[in-house]
Symmetry: C2
Subunit: 367 residues, 2 copies
Amino acid sequence: MTPAITVPTLILDEHKVRRNISRMVDKVKGLDIAFRPHFKTHQSAAVGEWFREAGVEKITVSSLRMAAYFAKAGWKDITNAFPVNIREMDLINQLAGDINLQLIVENTEAIEALRQQLQHPVHLFIKLNAGNNRTGLPPTNIDEITTIVQRIEEAEKLSFAGFLGHAGQTYQARGKEEIARIHEASLNSLNPVVDHFRADYPDLLFSYGDTPSGSTSNAFPGVDELRPGNFVFYDLTQATIGSCTLEDIAVAMACPVVSKHPERREIVVYGGGVHFSKDRLERNGVTTFGQPVRWTADGWEVIDDGISYVRKLSQEHGVVGVSPALFREITIGDVLGIVPVHSCMTADLMKAYQTMEGTSISMLTYM
Amino acid sequence: MTPAITVPTLILDEHKVRRNISRMVDKVKGLDIAFRPHFKTHQSAAVGEWFREAGVEKITVSSLRMAAYFAKAGWKDITNAFPVNIREMDLINQLAGDINLQLIVENTEAIEALRQQLQHPVHLFIKLNAGNNRTGLPPTNIDEITTIVQRIEEAEKLSFAGFLGHAGQTYQARGKEEIARIHEASLNSLNPVVDHFRADYPDLLFSYGDTPSGSTSNAFPGVDELRPGNFVFYDLTQATIGSCTLEDIAVAMACPVVSKHPERREIVVYGGGVHFSKDRLERNGVTTFGQPVRWTADGWEVIDDGISYVRKLSQEHGVVGVSPALFREITIGDVLGIVPVHSCMTADLMKAYQTMEGTSISMLTYM
């Protein structure tokens, strides 16, 4: 790594990012499904341009502030895949006046607030619970869903766009077969209610998608639009699930080495919970917060020896257990590369990227 | 809560913060030990002023960038309690020219780099492993420690300040007796080596301190300086350890309620891993990411019914399981207060506070 690295820095391999984007774009095109990638992972207007160059025109975000950031960067068709927060009505109105805005609802209270306060048209998706039990109406609640559709249709500035589901439970899968099983069960649970309403609303869209099924499945019956997000970078979690290989991971933290402890064969790096986040992963029978890499001429190779991994993170410290060979190889003052457990959380904390070529790439900040 | 809350906001109860500060100041004064509180929890120049008003003049930080921030805010005596990162020599030189700077070392490589590149005097503490096995030399390695002391003494711009220990393993304790047991064992393991060097260096300082022992113990034999940090806010972890009561927790997240799920008796709030961090805690037999509060006329009361707690966090969502009474009480669009598991990590993510009176308080940012 370049001597310019002085503090924990999130390195981005532009080649891998563009490859991850084009693979997904080509795949979704082949399935004849609309593509609306989730931008919550990279949160960067510059990375967004790489999607635009690959033909993407519609995007998903996870907050209205993120929508405002990307609207400013020229995106005109944005879905905020988070239940309407009626306390942000001012920002909803501002965005709805500027872009084609899709929001998601799952209760009549939000629709009533929108009905009373909206100044511009908004398209509403109804969130269905795809089985991960986070948000969404149970797909069996036909009566409640019918009521919500009616309330949307009654409101002057609202239109019913369709249904939206996210099978986040695929993150519990290990291996492609298990992803496929969960994916099939999720779609089987949602398609009956979607079909029920298609009779009266032939133009409704069924928007769906998570990175594990988006990366591994070729069967999306009934789905009109796909919204995976993490695939842009992938991470150690996705490699462990089976969504990608370790080689597909497109970001790595560069962390200065500050200490070596031979009695525990541990390296201490400058790089802690405020850089990686505290997301953890069960992998190779241990709990890990990241896995070291070896820098190469044009990138890095993940070290997957079953011994070397980030054992602990505190606020600024990362404690990395390593193999005897790696322990000998690493010197105080080196920069150790580490692929993160969860790239969305790490990127959100780091607030910037540096490419392998040394270019700085900025991200959304709330400052 | 005020209607001004539109997005997740970190609320700070100034009265509680000032009370936590003055309690610790009075206690340390009573013990006749120097006080050098750690500012990594609040990371705020404004909160720093409340310490200054309580008579504090020396501080601890966890990064050089944090040291630079507080130096700019007028702090002239700062210890960076993180092993020297030789890649930040420029910032070390800049700070050492401006303030009284203490750094910590645990290897000869760092000392050699400092010897060659330092332009201004720096005081070095040698980090000892107090038993938490993160950083620090084993206190039994007298020969290695002797070598390091000699190397420090040989370098023109370096001076040997003493030893620094942090018994982070008190965070594993549950109850004051267990804290006391760990605290005593830690000091028993460090005092022999400190005493060994006191013979030749009578002015050396033994700097020590973690919030659990700092909050509950009155016995710090051999300790010259105390460095607790988290006590300024405390959090659900410290209350569970036994360092404080739930009433002492001085920060709470204010999160808009966006969804209610009667079938699971769960509330979904706008407030996820990018706001709270993903730090987790075993409490009341479950894994939790925070605990709800009831707002009162001048603050909040933590709801500790054994049922209501944050069950899951994803990027922007918090899923809060609640009692039947609380479920009935909460309406879509309300602002649910939640005390965080780990206030240091939550504050670091939020990058700002809002007092109960609506005043905004800024923090360190790297932008």
